[in-house]
C-alpha cells in the first residue's frame, strides 16, 4: 500500500496511515488531509497537528483525547465544550482517526 507525491513514493498501511513516521512533511499532511476529505488545512488544523506531533515526539504515543482538548482550551482560550466542538468540526471523523493520521502518527492498537 502507498501513494506517490512529487515523485516520491510513500508506504502506508491498509487504512492509509504512514508506515515510516519520518516520511511525514507538510505536503504529505496536505495529501493525507485530501484523502480524508479535508480539502484545506487552515491555521487551526495546523495548531492541532503541531500539538500532536510535539506530544508524540516527547511521549511516543498519541495523547489521550482529554489531553488534546485541554491543550486546545488553553491555546485557543475556549471552554471545554467549545474546544471539543471545534475539534470535531475540524476533524469530523474524530481526532484519533483523522487528526493523528494527517499528523503522521501511527494507529494505536490494544484495548482501545
Amino acid at each position: 500500500m502507498g501513494f506517490e507525491l512529487n515523485g516520491k513514493s510513500y508506504e502506508t498501511d491498509e487504512d492509509g496511515y504512514l508506515i515510516d513516521l519520518t516520511d511525514w512533511s507538510e505536503d504529505v499532511a496536505a495529501y493525507l488531509a485530501d484523502t480524508e476529505e479535508i480539502p484545506e488545512l487552515g491555521e487551526k488544523h495546523w495548531q492541532i497537528i503541531n500539538f500532536l506531533r510535539g506530544y508524540y515526539e516527547e511521549y511516543q504515543i498519541a495523547p489521550m483525547i482529554k489531553i488534546l482538548i485541554k491543550a486546545i482550551m488553553k491555546d485557543m482560550d475556549l471552554s471545554k465544550r467549545d474546544a471539543s466542538k471545534m475539534l470535531y468540526e475540524l476533524y469530523p471523523a474524530g481526532p484519533a482517526k483523522q487528526a493523528c493520521k494527517i499528523a503522521g502518527l501511527p494507529k494505536p492498537t490494544g484495548c482501545v
Binding site: E14, D15, Y59, I61, P108, T109, G110, C111, V112
Partner: protein, 544 residues
C-alpha cells in the same frame, strides 16, 4: 476500509439472508461451500515490524485478500506436526476432538451465528472445521470412510476457512455453558490460532499489541515516562474536579500491593475515568500500593496467539511483583487477564510462592479464592470494603445515571465474578436495572469483539456479533431509560462504545470503579462536589 451498513440496512440484511430467523438454509453442504472473503469480514494481517520483533515463523508481507498467502513450501507438514504435538500435549484437545455428539445445543448460543446466520458460526460447525481434519488424519473411521465419516483432507481452502472463522470467534465461551459434554470451543479456537501461527497466519490487531507488550510491558507501547506523565495528568484532573491531591507511587519497592490494570485505561476514553476511579479509591482508603511502569498491562493478547507467548507476557506481572517485593497483586477491571490468571497461570508460571496469600490490609479479609494465584480482582476487593463500611459513599451523586451491567465474558464465565460487581453498583448507584436473564451472568452475551477482534476493518462482523447484546440493552433502555452500560473490562470499554454508538446511541459506557469514585466522599474534597469524573454536572447542580 469497507463502507459500513447503517443499522436498519444491517438488520434487513440479517432478516433476508439464510439464518435462524428466516429458517432459510444454504443450498450446498458446508464442505462444498468455500470461505468467502469480503471487505468487513477479515482482519488485516500482521505487519512484519511486529512479527519480526517476536521472532514469529514466516514473517512476511501478505494479505488475506491475495490468492497466494506466501506460506512455506512444507506448510501442510508443519500444521500436521503441530496438530499431532498438541493432541499429545493437551489431553483436553484430544477429548474436544472426539467427544461432540452434534446435538446442536450450542448452535444458537453464539452471537456471531445470531448476527450473521452463517452456519459456520455455529460453535458445533466451527469446531467441525478442525475436527474434520482430525478425523481424516487420526481416526480409523475417518481414514476409511472419508467424507461419510465427516473427514476431509487439509488443503489451502481449509486453511483459509480456518482463518476466517477462528478469527470470527471471540473465545467468549457462551456455547460452552450449554454444551452437555463441556466442549470448550474457546480452547479449540485457541489451538486453531496456534496452528495458524505456526505458518505465519495472524492478524495485526493481535500481534502489534503482543510485540508492544513484549517490548514495553503494555499493549499500547506506552513507555515509562509516558505512563507516569499520563497518570499525573489524570491526578491533575482529579484535583480540578474534587479538590483532592493524589501522588500515586510508581515502582515502589516494599509496597504491600502491586496494582495492575489494562493499558487501555491509561489511554482511551472512557477507560481513563476508571483509572481515575482506582486512584481515588486507593487514596480514600490509604492503601499501601504501587503502580509499575513495567508491569503496566493486565491484558494478555498472548492468550489469542499461543501458549508460549501467553506464558511469557503473564510472567512479567509476577516477575515485577517479586522484584518489588510486594505481598500480593491487585488486578483492575480487565476481562481476559482473569481467564489467564484463573485458568492457566498456576500451571504456567506458578505457583507464585514468593508472594503471600492475599489479605485485605483494610478489612483483614483473607481472599481464599486467590490463595494460589495471589491475585485479587478489584471488584472482590471493593465489595469487601463496602461490606465492612470502609468507604464513605453518597450514591445520589450517580443519580444522573440509569445503570445496567454487562457481565464481561471472562470474569463471568472464567472466574464466576457475578455478584460482586452488582453489589458494588447497587451500593454506589440508586438506579440499577438488569438486562433479561438469559443475556447476563453466566449467559452473558459477548461485546462482539473480544479476543483481539476489536479492530475497525471488521466492523461488519463486530456489529453483527454485537446485535444480541445490543438488543438486550435496547430493551432496558426502552423499559427503564437506561443511559449507562457498566462493565469490568477494558476491551469492553472500547468495544461496547462502538456497539452503543451504532445500536443505542444514547447509552454511554463506564467502568464500575468510575461510578464508585463518583460516589466517594473524599477527605479534603471541595465543599461542593458539583461534577462527575467526566466533568458533567451532578443532578441538581445548575450549569453556568
Amino acid at each position: 476500509m469497507s463502507k459500513m451498513l447503517q443499522p436498519d440496512e444491517l438488520i434487513k440484511d440479517i432478516q433476508e439472508t439464510p439464518s435462524l430467523m428466516t429458517g432459510k438454509a444454504p443450498a450446498k453442504d458446508w464442505m462444498d461451500t468455500p470461505a468467502e472473503f469480503k471487505p468487513g469480514n477479515w482482519a488485516y494481517s500482521a505487519k512484519t515490524k511486529a512479527t519480526d520483533a517476536l521472532g514469529m515463523p514466516n514473517s512476511r508481507d501478505w494479505s488475506p485478500a491475495d490468492e497466494d498467502w506466501k506460506l512455506p513450501e512444507d506448510w501442510k507438514e508443519i500444521i500436521s506436526n503441530g496438530f499431532r504435538e498438541r493432541l499429545d500435549k493437551f489431553r483436553s484437545f484430544k477429548v474436544f476432538m472426539d467427544i461432540c455428539v452434534r446435538c446442536g445445543a450450542c448452535a444458537d448460543k453464539c452471537h456471531f451465528f445470531l448476527g450473521s446466520g452463517d452456519p459456520k458460526n455455529m460453535p458445533v460447525l466451527r469446531a467441525e472445521l478442525l475436527r474434520s481434519i482430525y478425523r481424516n488424519d487420526y481416526t480409523i473411521a475417518g481414514k476409511l470412510l472419508k467424507k461419510f465419516a465427516g473427514a476431509r483432507p487439509l488443503t489451502m481452502d481449509v486453511v483459509k476457512e480456518w482463518f476466517l472463522y477462528f478469527f470470527q470467534c471471540t473465545e467468549c465461551r457462551r456455547c460452552y455453558v450449554f454444551c452437555p459434554y463441556g466442549n470448550e470451543t474457546a480452547e479449540i479456537t485457541m489451538l486453531a490460532r496456534e496452528l495458524l501461527n505456526l505458518v505465519g497466519i495472524n492478524i495485526n490487531w493481535i500481534m502489534d499489541p503482543v510485540a508492544n507488550c513484549n517490548r514495553t510491558g503494555n499493549h499500547l507501547g506506552i513507555e515509562p515516562h509516558t505512563f507516569k506523565r499520563v497518570i499525573e495528568t489524570l491526578c491533575e484532573d482529579i484535583k480540578d474536579i474534587t479538590g483532592v491531591t493524589i501522588n500515586p507511587p510508581f515502582n515502589k519497592k516494599g509496597a504491600e500491593i502491586l496494582f495492575i490494570t489494562p493499558s487501555g485505561d491509561v489511554f482511551a476514553d472512557p477507560g481513563v475515568y476508571t483509572m481515575m476511579g482506582y486512584l481515588m479509591l486507593f487514596e480514600h482508603i490509604g492503601l499501601d500500593y504501587t503502580l509499575s511502569t513495567y508491569a503496566s498491562e493486565g491484558g494478555n493478547f498472548g492468550l489469542f496467539t499461543s501458549n508460549e507467548i501467553m506464558k511469557k507476557l503473564n510472567g512479567k506481572m509476577y516477575h515485577e511483583a517479586e522484584r518489588l517485593g510486594v505481598k500480593w497483586i491487585l488486578g483492575g477491571e480487565c476481562g481476559h487477564m482473569w481467564r489467564v490468571v484463573n485458568q492457566y497461570m498456576d500451571t504456567m508460571n506458578g505457583p507464585a510462592d514468593f508472594l503471600e496469600e492475599p489479605v485485605s490490609p483494610i478489612t483483614g479479609t483473607k481472599f481464599e479464592n486467590a490463595k494460589s494465584t495471589k491475585m485479587v480482582h478489584i471488584m472482590e476487593f471493593t465489595a469487601d470494603l463496602i461490606k465492612h463500611n470502609k468507604l464513605k459513599l453518597d450514591p445520589s451523586r450517580n443519580d444522573h445515571l440509569n445503570v445496567t451491567f454487562h457481565d464481561s465474558c471472562n470474569p463471568a464465565r472464567a472466574m464466576g465474578l457475578l455478584d460482586e460487581p452488582r453489589y458494588v453498583i447497587n451500593s454506589v448507584c440508586n438506579n440499577f436495572h438488569e438486562m433479561p436473564e438469559n443475556t447476563i451472568r453466566e449467559q452473558t452475551y459477548c461485546c462482539g469483539a473480544g479476543s483481539g477482534l476489536n479492530t475497525e476493518e471488521i466492523m461488519d462482523v463486530r456489529m453483527r456479533g454485537a446485535l444480541p447484546r445490543a438488543s438486550a440493552l435496547k430493551y432496558v433502555e426502552e423499559k427503564h431509560d437506561v443511559n449507562m452500560l457498566a462493565c469490568v473490562c477494558a476491551i469492553d470499554r472500547a468495544t461496547l462504545l462502538a456497539l452503543t454508538q451504532y445500536w443505542t446511541p444514547d447509552v454511554e459506557v463506564a467502568g464500575v470503579t468510575e461510578m464508585v469514585a463518583n460516589a466517594l466522599v473524599m477527605e479534603g474534597e471541595n465543599e461542593v462536589r458539583d461534577m462527575d469524573l467526566r466533568e458533567e454536572p451532578y443532578l441538581g447542580v445548575e450549569e453556568d
